[in-house]
Subunit: 180 residues, 4 copies
DNA sequence: AATGAATGAGTCTTCATTCAT
DNA sequence: CATGAATGAAGACTCATTCAT
């Protein structure tokens, strides 16, 4: 049972990922979360921007969780990558192919705000660092691990985009053979 | 000397790339292009959507031109990739790091429209096909060429995003060592 | 036949005089003037503040007109003052005693803006100067005229307020015996 | 050491005098007084209107106190007026010229409520009566005293306004030479 | 071919208030 | 007695679009 506050951020996150920060109205978010109009500013005093930051944070953490779930039980690094991509592809399908990178549309599409860009930069670094940690765990050198983590991350970002354009999650599933 | 119609699309393109389809108002576009309020619907009867499609088309063609310019005078495929990335990084810097992939923010951030997604999908394919053609020209097999073209394209899409988040065009310049 | 633009400012002026800048909503003004919602920003690009400034300017000019009408046909300065006060009292009654100084509630009650205060200061000076001119015309020295003009103006401002508090326009009519 | 209830009314009073009843939000008042959000309706069950009435009452009493302090130690009526104006001018300066008549903006700018107008009317009468009492004490006839009290009061109301418009408290200090 | 005026649905946000604890 | 959470109406304003000229 999630709190109203969290529920709001999760639903907002999905919508932002679909149509970007400016493409989603507060009223739609409120309705989607079943939260009355005036309540938003109780939970997020700074309004939409606050909400977007919270939404990105939640989504970013969820991605970290997926990374760990994918690599923790993997036999090899490549296995981890494959599982990771399959999970993301499934996530993509669940949302009917309307959804992209869980944070970029929210934060890059938002106000031209230093906080937004820094938050995004930090989130990306956290993801790459985590991927690299797992790579190291599988025996790669620090340099190799960083190299591979960045390669995976960049291609994945691109894959989200291409998958949405084509409406086809297989773009994501085919990624391992491309980067490993 | 570009026509009013084209000027409009070019300026709109830059703005869309910065803040997405919904993040830019028509009035801002009109002002940026120095075009009077009521004129838009003469040049683009369907309004904003028409304009965005035109803007994407122009930007897409410009990218094709850059690809050719980069590879036509290259000694090796890798040289072509490097030049290509440097040109894009420079383009990124010229626009003060505010600009992303020349078409994705415009079309993916736009209305949830089949035409938009198909247009985007086609543009992406054209880019990858052109990259592959050059790869073939440098002796790669069709399969290798497709593989490398997609790898470059996906990573490049990701690089635009990471570069914007970090405000650093070097992300793009470092790409060749990552994908070649 | 007044233009939509002017009609808007006049009606807004009455409402601002009744309940102050912040006490009146744009929707009420629009409705009172029979002007559709989106039209305001066509006529007054800066919105409510623009409208308030225009409303004050119109009201200020109208007061000047009343001053002239009162003194131009007067036999003595005191006669002019009396006529002036009677006209204002009548104006007060027409608006059911709900209305105060034609500009102070609009501009002093508005945003804490230098432009607003300067506009108000200028309007007040214009009124006092005009009163003094008429006084001079009736043979008063410049010093006497300024003295009397300020005395009349200040008391009149106070009278608007007291008249509204008591709901009685006689406060204004009794003014001549107080200041002459 | 003032109670929370009183503190609330005093701080609200200053704010209302600056920007009028509708120009000040409850949240700003609460914050200014350091009182928690939900507490207001304990002290003032009828909310903002109650608070405004209380604020006006406190301010009105304070004015009475200033009148007495000014005239009690005066050698002549004119001396009393002068001291009174100087005290008010100082009060004006302390609040950075942002503050007007201690009660009119609060009550006239408030809801179009009979209670508000009656309260205001009563306060004004109390002030004028008190001024007249002092005038009588200095030897004036009842009629003279009333006449002078009203003249002073009305001019003073006007002076508050002109002083705010000009941002200059000397308007108030110059009053004695105008009305005595 | 070109355009300034006009529009109403929509934007985000703040409001004064009530209520459960 | 005190208060943080919650709320729906209203706030000012911007939007993409249409239309008469």
């Amino acid at each position: 049972m999630t709190s109203t506050r969290t529920e709001l951020a999760i639903k907002a996150g999905y919508l932002f990922q679909q149509r970007g920060y400016h493409g989603v109205g507060l009223s739609e978010i409120l309705e989607s979360a079943g939260v009355p109009k005036g309540s938003l500013y109780h939970h997020y005093p700074n309004g939409k921007a606050d909400l977007a930051l919270a939404a990105a944070e939640i989504a970013a953490t969820e991605v970290l969780r997926i990374i760990d779930a994918s690599f923790d039980e993997a036999a090899t690094y490549r296995d981890g990558v494959t599982t990771y991509c399959y999970k993301l592809a499934k996530y993509f399908d669940i949302h009917e192919g309307k959804i992209g990178c869980p944070v970029s549309a929210t934060l890059l599409g938002g106000p031209d705000n230093a906080v937004f860009r820094e938050t995004l930069s930090t989130i990306y670094s956290r993801w790459m660092d985590r991927l690299a940690e797992h790579a190291v765990r599988f025996g790669q050198s620090a340099a190799q691990a960083d190299h591979n983590a960045r390669r995976l991350f960049l291609s994945l970002e691109g894959s989200w985009t291409l998958a949405r354009a084509r409406g086809d999650s297989n773009v994501i599933r085919e990624l391992p053979s491309l980067v490993c």
